[in-house]
């Protein structure tokens, strides 16, 4: 159930007239089935916008995005939601404060008219390493790491093939980050998910991704394999600077 993703010349402009800002001039990259692809770059470089374009949360882009060869724009909503799901950055903001975990997880099942709801919810919550009793908790009764697990369970419950991860661990402590990264790693091995992961931490990229793209002002400067990080094998000056800074930050004594 792995899918490939291909984006060709994706471009997006916000605003109109003289105030228009071209956020992504032209983005093209392809991700193989079952691959974990990283997007890195400074804030405002358009990393999250790329994810929002792929997921059609923002749909005013031009160009082509193909998921397993099919244009995402032409996919019916129901099919799209069962193919791709997104996990957002801040688990404190992405769960409804007055909905229990059960409500959060049952809503997609109701929309998609899936049976065995109880069964599916139990499976999703166990898959992310939480006890079934947590179904009746509210977000304020959960820690940050547990909330992010619920957010991942919400994405998993429709059994998608592509997960879009928007800085899934940057709001969490190192110790909790480790738990979430291990979980994502395990799920990928078990289910063959394709991941596209936005992050600003190259150590996380090195741990999780096979290849990654370095973005600057909405453009992909370079796509590099993970092996290029430790020796700083980038050729574009900005990519070199970014990797250099991360290496220095991590190893300087």
């Amino acid at each position: 159930m792995s899918v490939s993703v291909e984006t060709r010349d994706v471009s997006i402009t916000f605003g109109a007239g003289p105030a228009a800002v071209r956020v992504l001039p032209s983005v093209s990259f392809s991700v193989g089935p079952g691959e974990c692809f990283g997007l890195v770059g400074e804030s405002g470089s358009g990393k999250s916008t790329v994810l929002r374009c792929i997921s059609m949360l923002t749909d005013i882009w031009t160009g082509d995005i193909l998921i397993d060869g099919k244009p995402v724009r032409e996919m019916p909503l129901i099919e799209r939601c069962r193919t791709l799901q997104m996990v957002f950055q801040d688990p404190y903001g992405s769960l409804h404060p007055r909905q229990s975990v059960r409500t959060v997880l049952s809503e997609p099942l109701a929309i998609h008219r899936l049976g065995d709801r109880e069964e599916r919810m139990r499976k999703a919550i166990t898959d992310v390493g939480l006890p079934v009793s947590f179904l009746d908790r509210f977000p304020h009764q959960l820690s940050g790491g547990q909330r992010q697990r619920v957010a991942i369970a919400r994405a998993l419950i429709l059994e998608p093939s592509l997960l879009l991860l928007d800085e899934p661990t940057s709001a969490l402590d190192v110790s909790v980050q480790a738990e979430i990264l291990n979980l994502l790693q395990r799920l990928r091995e078990e289910r063959g998910f394709t991941y596209i992961m936005v992050t600003h931490d190259l150590a996380v990229v090195d741990h999780m991704c096979d290849r990654f793209a370095v973005m600057l002002h909405g453009e992909i400067t370079e796509v590099l394999p993970r092996e290029a990080i430790p020796a700083n094998g980038a050729t574009h000056p900005y990519a070199r600077e970014l990797i250099g800074a991360s290496l220095e930050y991590e190893s300087a004594h």
Partner: protein, 278 residues
Amino acid sequence: MEKPILEVDNLRIRYGGASAEAVRGVSFTLGRERLGIVGESGSGKSTVGRALLRLLPGATITADKLRFGELDLLTLSEKEMLKVRGRRMSMILQDPKFSLNPIRRVGDQVAETYLRHFRCSKAEARDKALAMLEAVKIRDPERVYDQYPHEISGGMGQRVMIAMMLLADPDLVIADEPTSALDVTVRLQVLNILDGLVRDRGIGLIMISHDLNLVRNFCDRVLIMYAGRVVETLAARDLDRAEHPYTRGLLAAQPRIGGGRAPLAVLDRQLEWLEEKA
């Protein structure tokens, strides 16, 4: 040994209405050095920083000793405290987007520190502020002085904060997650500037952070906090040789560039870490 700037002994803080103490018996002394306080969110590290500046209305602060230079921070009146805050002890906050006043020019905000604490003319304060903006490596300080916070970048905003906090030449600066809102490339630059100024002026620095790499690189000594207590104190260069299982767990949980892809170690929290040492 030279006289310490700050002596804290058995500091305990309880927020109003809370049943348990947020900080339970923290003791340390600080000389002219850079001290890091690390821990997870909720471990009480920021609460310690805020307590030193007495910025916790409604909380009960007790300690056997809380001395800052010749002052006893526990007994100072609020009026006396105003002369300490910003002048002798100041705090750099996490996100410049939220800690600068959005409707005042950044230069005026920097100069305000000087106007408030010294008898001087506005022109003098402006000159001081401009010199300080230059010291934090802001190109063209004259132009930046007249800009508003939304017109400058995050890295620049944080440098403005540093300028503001160092302008009165304090003895102690508390930096509470000074760079976690910044990009990696900018982060190092800002930290190097802060580090240079703190060293040159012989200011004591308390760096509060959850980032082990940061304290390793920019501190001399590190306190590791867990659930309101200091579980271990180490020289920053000995961080790899930490003995407490919590510190070791934190280090192992960190993904590293060039590290293996084996699952990361996960903290196995022990109840005994919560207990106070006799």
